[in-house]
Symmetry: C2
DNA sequence: ACCTGAACACCGTTCAAGT
DNA sequence: ACCTGAACACCGTTCAAGT
């Protein structure tokens, strides 16, 4: 698609590859992120990529790290631990939500990058502050991070990104299907149909469920 | 690997294909589940699969449905809504936990299958009972289901399934890496290192975090 | 109804070689 | 240091054909 000159003038670089990979994942989904495809976009042979990355997996490592590094952790403060925890979770969510196709990559790579370790350290610290023992803090903290990824990943339509018009149509079809279920067996699904179909688009969905997580941490025995 | 006779004597069938696909995903991960690979295991041409499934995606639909159908929903009872909700979430988790590689498939397919709609109906019903309005129930319910999938998916080592010996070694290496971080910057990560590495293996991890979700539902404003 | 054969356009990756 | 060329073993899928 692009000749050598416009994607990156001059040389290929890790950074340039990662940036275009993110863009590709956003527009066409993770399965479009391909060594060969990226090479083509940079006007270069597929094998050129192997000078910059050991293999595809380390490209994905790079993508995950690139995202995690963008998280702006709020400074530690005197606020209650639950307020601080919420802010950290929201800071993480803010960064990955625009990249649902890449969210899943973070799942098993948070503790791999320095920036991810910093997030983990802060979350664990607040959980200790809340009264959790180290072991429990690890279990709960792990789950909290995974949950944020899940929220970001809960993109309405998986795979290729569709645009407005298309998306509306997909929603209409899904809603109609749910609403045509037998009312005697599925009253609650039918009542919730509009929200079930579109809720992952609303900011409300994210705020509400981050709050659910924080409330859950508050409600648990600290052992 | 298998000649036509032993995988399934007689004929190929949707069921037989799905069963072997589940086994394959369990032993070698989702990326090993391939039309060609499955065909080979059944001693059949890849194209034979296309008589039983429209394409690979509908094979994956079938896998997801197969799992979801196995969920044994507890009967509605007079127990508190939160106890019932916990039991439903645990019933779902029990089924998908043995198949971490397949868990992700359920994310966007629960509302596609009849059996998934039944789970959704029950969860939504209990949330209504707890005082949630239909819209909020949809938002929270969607997240709860996604979270269970996330828990099941939070398999320690992604990809190919490793066995005991190997796994221990992986754990040792990861723990050592975390414990060798600078103590001044990562005190909590270091203290939690053993649990961070192995917690996804323990039953405790799952029970604790299901409880976190239920407590979260209790702590949220019902709007 | 159920399956094969040949072909197409894709993958990731290795290895040797060029500048 | 950075990239190419040719090759290998894989993918999913279509289309026409066999029984």
């Amino acid at each position: 698609m692009a000749k050598r000159s416009d994607a990156t003038r001059g040389r290929l670089s890790r950074e340039a590859i990662i940036v275009s990979a993110v863009a590709l994942a956003d527009s066409e989904g993770l399965e479009a992120v391909t060594i060969r495809r990226l090479a083509q976009e940079h006007g270069v042979t597929p094998m050129a990529m192997y000078w910059h990355f050991n293999d595809k997996d380390s490209l994905l490592d790079g993508l995950a790290e690139h995202l995690i590094e963008a998280v702006k952790l709020p400074e530690p403060s005197d606020a209650d631990w639950d307020a601080q925890l919420r802010d950290i979770l929201l800071a993480f969510l803010t960064v990955i939500r625009p990249h649902p196709a890449l969210a899943g990559l973070a799942l098993r790579r948070i503790l791999a990058a320095e920036s991810g370790l910093l997030i983990a350290e802060r979350v664990l610290g607040l959980l200790r502050q809340a009264g959790y023992a180290a072991g429990r803090a690890a279990e709960v903290g792990t789950f909290l991070i995974c949950s944020i990824v899940t929220l970001a990943n809960a993109d309405p339509v998986g795979g290729p990104h569709r645009t407005g018009e298309d998306l509306e149509q997909v929603f209409r079809v899904k809603r109609a299907r749910l609403e045509s279920l037998p009312p005697s067996r599925f009253p609650n699904v039918i009542a919730a149909a509009p929200a079930l179909v579109t809720c992952r688009e609303a900011d409300d969905f994210f705020d509400l469920n981050v709050e659910l997580l924080v409330q859950g941490v508050r409600g648990l025995p600290r052992g």
